[in-house]
Symmetry: C2
Subunit: 335 residues, 2 copies
Amino acid sequence: MSITLKEVAERAGVSRSAVSRTFTEGASVSERTRRKVEKAARELGYRPNALASSLTTGRTKLIGLISNNFHNPIFLEVFDLFTRGLQERGLRPLLVNLSGAPDPAESLELLRQYSVDGVIVASSTLPPEFALSFRKAGIPVVHSFGRMASASQVHVVGIDNIECGRMAARTLMQRGYGRVAFLGGPEAATSTQDRFAGFLEVMEANPQVRCHYSFASQYSFDAGRVAMTKELITQPAEAYFCGDDVLSIGALSAIASAGLKVPGDIGLIGLNDMEMARWENINLTTIRQPIRQIIDGSIELIASTLQEPDRFPEARLFACQVIERGTLRPLPAKT
Amino acid sequence: MSITLKEVAERAGVSRSAVSRTFTEGASVSERTRRKVEKAARELGYRPNALASSLTTGRTKLIGLISNNFHNPIFLEVFDLFTRGLQERGLRPLLVNLSGAPDPAESLELLRQYSVDGVIVASSTLPPEFALSFRKAGIPVVHSFGRMASASQVHVVGIDNIECGRMAARTLMQRGYGRVAFLGGPEAATSTQDRFAGFLEVMEANPQVRCHYSFASQYSFDAGRVAMTKELITQPAEAYFCGDDVLSIGALSAIASAGLKVPGDIGLIGLNDMEMARWENINLTTIRQPIRQIIDGSIELIASTLQEPDRFPEARLFACQVIERGTLRPLPAKT
DNA sequence: GTTCATTTTGCAACCGGTTGCAAAAAGGCT
DNA sequence: AGCCTTTTTGCAACCGGTTGCAAAATGAAC
């Protein structure tokens, strides 16, 4: 079916090695044979079989891209940037969807079977141990959007979620809210835990402000909507820090349905600054997570780790920033 | 690094063929050796190398998943469903992002190099010729969300975009709008062309209604916003059929910014029924495209084509349906 | 035209599996 | 036990490449 090395060799009147060498960076071939081979290859439409060569070279240029966040619109951008960035470096993303909760261990075996060169775990909810299992199997791995453990064994690229929690709390304090709440994603998600921890830390330093919390079942519009609806039944807070923009938008929707106004009746601050947050009909005040930098950093890191597998584990954290829009009451006038 | 066939064979005290056969469906192995081999394999943590075996079997179980729609939130769901569905059948999606406009021909070569078993082109904007180039190269291909050409050479799964255009036009007619417009995606997109054609067809049968049209530069929020902003500068129509929900939402945003009301001042109907369309703060009247069926159908079709490569090209089209929400004026009361 | 260093080339073995074939083992029957 | 059929097994070749090594070709220097 496909053209092979041998056919090109025959047509060019050289050995198979000669053909292989013409297509191998930095191999020794004379100008004359190179031209003969290239001509024959062109005429036949030959392209070396990447899988066959991987057998001897040990490199497939395949990168496992694993995620379980297929309900958060921000991840469309994440996939876009990852695939583009990997492609530009000649790497091929093999996508693994962990949403249906198939056994994570199984995905390791799967990617081993396909001898991927490396793995990117793009998830803010998977525990560090998951990424670690790849490293233990000798596969270079980067955990994007992951939790930064102090003595981490794997590369992590992302943000300081604890600091984001603090930042959100401080922002609410500045606005003078007297009763606030944290509306998190799934309690098992490391990102939720950390954002919550940072939030609480600041709140404990401000005991005059009442504070409570609840958790949505997942990072999705519907879950956010359900959680906020529950809040509205009992006594809602004056302002909420939602653990993610998509939750915020679900919450906004619940608030609108209840006939309440934002930020008049209830204030809201999200996290991520996803595309929809700036849509005029949403206009969400939020904390921006620098997606592009996180992804570029992740790709850069996995690429370097392919060259140098025993590279010391590293954490790259990027600063976040409050984006002022229309879902929090304005700062009180300066005295 | 990794455990190989040979090591398992030695430990189990059998030949390499015996080991290979234990892991090959339907090969002849006695119960006794199978057990010996399985024991040895388990102890060593052996997994056959999928790439190596693909060399002889000619099957990689890799499926190229190609798209250029990384700015339309609907595609997050598309990727979710595709990856899940493929995984369930033991197929692995190799993702190719055509957004950065890299040469389409290059992506064919790339996927040939990785000897994918088949290809799914998930795009409503790529021309039929693109999918065709894979078929010509002998690679099974399904074009999802593609244009149904009458004598198509490739499998197509999707909707009848022309009929959707008609449906939108009829819906606007029923509401008694006197001046309507089509706000399409990129003019080069087959889906836009077809939706436009259907729309025009009905409008020509209703010459009493004034009608004009314009096109956004791509299927994205921003492009929709820009296009509608331009419309508002000149004399806008009473109601618009937007070629896609994401355009509609951009348009909604432009309308809101101009201080106009929907559906009071301007009516809007979209196409897709993406998740955000039902968010209360958007609440878009739209035409639902049955994503799940399209994707299940695509996967089913590519899987069958792997078995039977010369299967006759087939088109599977699914019906669409108007979803009534809040961006069109209500039907006039019955007389 | 030699001689020697350097580059280019082909041979053959290998990467990790699969598979046709013939020999060996097992099973059935008289 | 002997014969025949069926199943199981290992050998060896192959899939499409790469690569160490030694031989052949080239080029430089004398």
